[in-house]
Symmetry: C2
Subunit: 390 residues, 2 copies
């Protein structure tokens, strides 16, 4: 159930000594072919980490042979020395695997504004490349090691799998626990498939899947400089996938990983789905749901098991979406607390003790809908992000 589940992929995770806390911190996922088609999407932050700048060049031709990922340092705002470190990392991978460095994606995650220890990185690359040559690199254990190596404040590795009845497979791994906001989140995701698809097809499928999943996870409103979601296709199943069917499956895998990211968000005590219905446009629905998801007052209320729907509507009121303040309904965990902009059921009826919370906002302006997944704002979030420099 990992990036090694589809045929034609090998993975390795190793300890390069980059993470102060120790443990696995460098991973390589290699596409063994026969095809090497790929697509990738990146953060929309204008301050791009060096590995993102590099990887955007790599993906331009839709060909990727391998992806190397490290935790223990974001390599962002590290100037030309930082870019050279990214370049050297790709060169090292290329040399060990006998591929072109221009076909090696690089991902980094960790603290911004600190130089990576390039000696440690290159030693880690050598070690991981050695592992890749063994048969064991194609096993679930190898995929799991890679998934562990990219963790930062994540408490558990995140993997997902889809096996199509028609014979191809999608595997995936993800990391991300803070800076989880769209465009994308502080997330690194590697998706693999043995389906036969062109890089152009992969790009279409990946953009549609991320639009509906990772882009709608907004844990803490903070956008990272390093987010990268990549999709590598080996074609090793020998089966041409139907693009619609593939996109649906890919979306399901991405959704699975999205929910895992949400469930492991830093310090979260609740997983909150904010569903907006009756919107005039999908854009409106996303806007309204996102505004609520970013309200610290809403998020702290949820933490306190307080169904404070006034804070929901105060956040709705900051948007440009089409709505009439006197024709909005709000339900929290199945209790209609507000109808037509007035109090309906007593808020005391809402039970917020379960971890899963659903807020449904009906704008009564059309037929569009969207859901944003977020978390509450807790003591543990404050603790983790004030005590841990990341």
């Amino acid at each position: 159930m990992s990036v090694t589940a589809p045929a034609g992929f090998a993975a390795a995770g190793t300890e390069a000594g980059l993470k102060k806390s120790g443990g696995l911190d460098l991973a390589i996922v290699q596409n063994l072919g026969p095809a090497s088609a790929a697509a990738a999407v990146f953060t929309s932050n204008r301050c791009l980490a060096n590995p993102v700048i590099w990887s955007k060049q790599v993906i331009a031709d839709g060909v990727v042979s391998a992806i190397v990922l490290n935790s223990g340092g974001a390599n962002c705002y590290t100037g030309s020395q930082g870019f050279q470190a990214t370049h050297a990392t790709a060169e090292a991978v290329a040399e060990h695997l006998g591929v072109s460095s221009g076909d090696v994606l690089v991902c980094s995650t960790g603290l911004i504004g600190e130089q990576l220890d390039l000696d440690a990185v290159t030693a880690g690359v050598a070690s991981a490349a050695g592992e890749l040559r063994a048969d064991a690199a194609r096993t679930p254990d190898a995929g799991l090691a890679a998934a562990r190596a990219i963790m930062t404040t994540d408490t558990r590795p995140k993997e997902a799998l889809h096996r199509a009845p028609t014979g191809w497979t999608i595997g995936g791994m993800a990391k991300g626990a803070g800076m989880l906001a769209p465009g994308l989140a502080t997330m690194l995701v590697v998706l693999t498939t043995d389906a036969q698809l062109s890089s152009a097809q992969l790009d279409v499928a990946l953009r549609e899947a991320t639009r509906l999943t990772f882009d709608r996870l907004d844990s803490d409103g903070c956008m990272s400089t390093n987010d990268t979601v990549s999709l590598l296709a080996s074609g090793a199943s020998g089966i041409e996938a139907d693009l619609t069917e593939f996109t649906e499956a890919l979306t399901a895998v991405c959704q699975d990983l999205t929910r895992q990211l949400q469930a492991d968000a830093e310090g979260a005590a609740h997983d909150v789905a904010i569903e907006v219905r009756g919107a005039k446009t999908e854009h409106d629905a996303v806007d309204v749901a996102r505004a609520v998801s970013r309200s610290n007052l809403f998020k702290t209320a949820i933490y306190g098991n307080d169904p404070n729907w006034g804070r929901v509507l105060a956040a709705v009121g900051t948007t440009d979406a089409a709505f009439d303040p006197y024709n909005i309904d709000v339900a929290i965990n199945g209790v209609q607390v507000c109808s037509g902009g007035e109090p309906d059921q007593p808020r005391e009826r809402v039970d917020l003790t379960p971890r899963d919370v659903t807020v449904i906002i009906d704008l009564h302006k059309g037929g569009e809908t969207a859901t944003i997944w977020t978390n509450d704002l807790t003591h543990e979030y404050v603790e983790e992000n004030s005590a841990y420099s990341s």
Copy 2:
């Protein structure tokens, strides 16, 4: 040093029984004339509380005789019953003071989505109106009682004063501790002056003053439904104020109150000034500073005394402002931690133990500058807003 400092004003604060915690919770400020010119600005939230809807009608002709304010309930999302309560409150004030209800501003603050106890409000109005008839209502103590009556989670009343050498005076009071974000914050502010100015002049002065002060306080990114800043002029000094001089003085008074609001923001441990320099436009400067002020990761880092400038630049990267990621400087409390988008001085040199923190971001794109005042994100903020339904 209060709303009663300028000649021609009386104030009262009373206990109407609206606040569950008890204490003063209803205030009236009366303009005794001879003039009754006024201006007001309101929240830009599209979900308006009933008192805001009412007060927008009242201010239309620029004439205000009195303002009544209550804590213990926002009277927002309370439907037609709620609007009738606001109307009845203004009628009660008008009857007791012998003025037109159409010249009575109403402000409310507290929990959204709960009906006000109108009987308690009208009894409180009668009590406050009785106090207003006494000479004591023109003393600083009366102004202080009014300032106390509008407090919610505020830990202290907020007042400010400016006496112009040319003979007129501005006094002010404010409340606000959470939902402090622009457009405006959860703030109620009453400003009084005995200068002779028309309502049109007051409007110009008030909009300029709030643009540079209250609108640039962004404690927690949450915009209230009830914000109202009003300015009442009695003309009792008999002196026509120079509009430029008056606007400068009014801005200083608003700035004083802004800093008091910042210093008393819910649970804050640091008062942070985010100053953006070298912006192409003032709008860019405000945008960049506001983006940083709303980053929970930046805010928790400050709480943890962690000069994590990467989180500053990650927030800058989410804006549309003109900047080059490789030509940005960041200084925190006087230490240049980032120059030209690369690490400069070691972050360990930054001392974040003082309550006041200054972050200076230079975009090197022009000559415009702006400062946003914000706070850190603390355990106490989470505690107050998860445990207290407001």
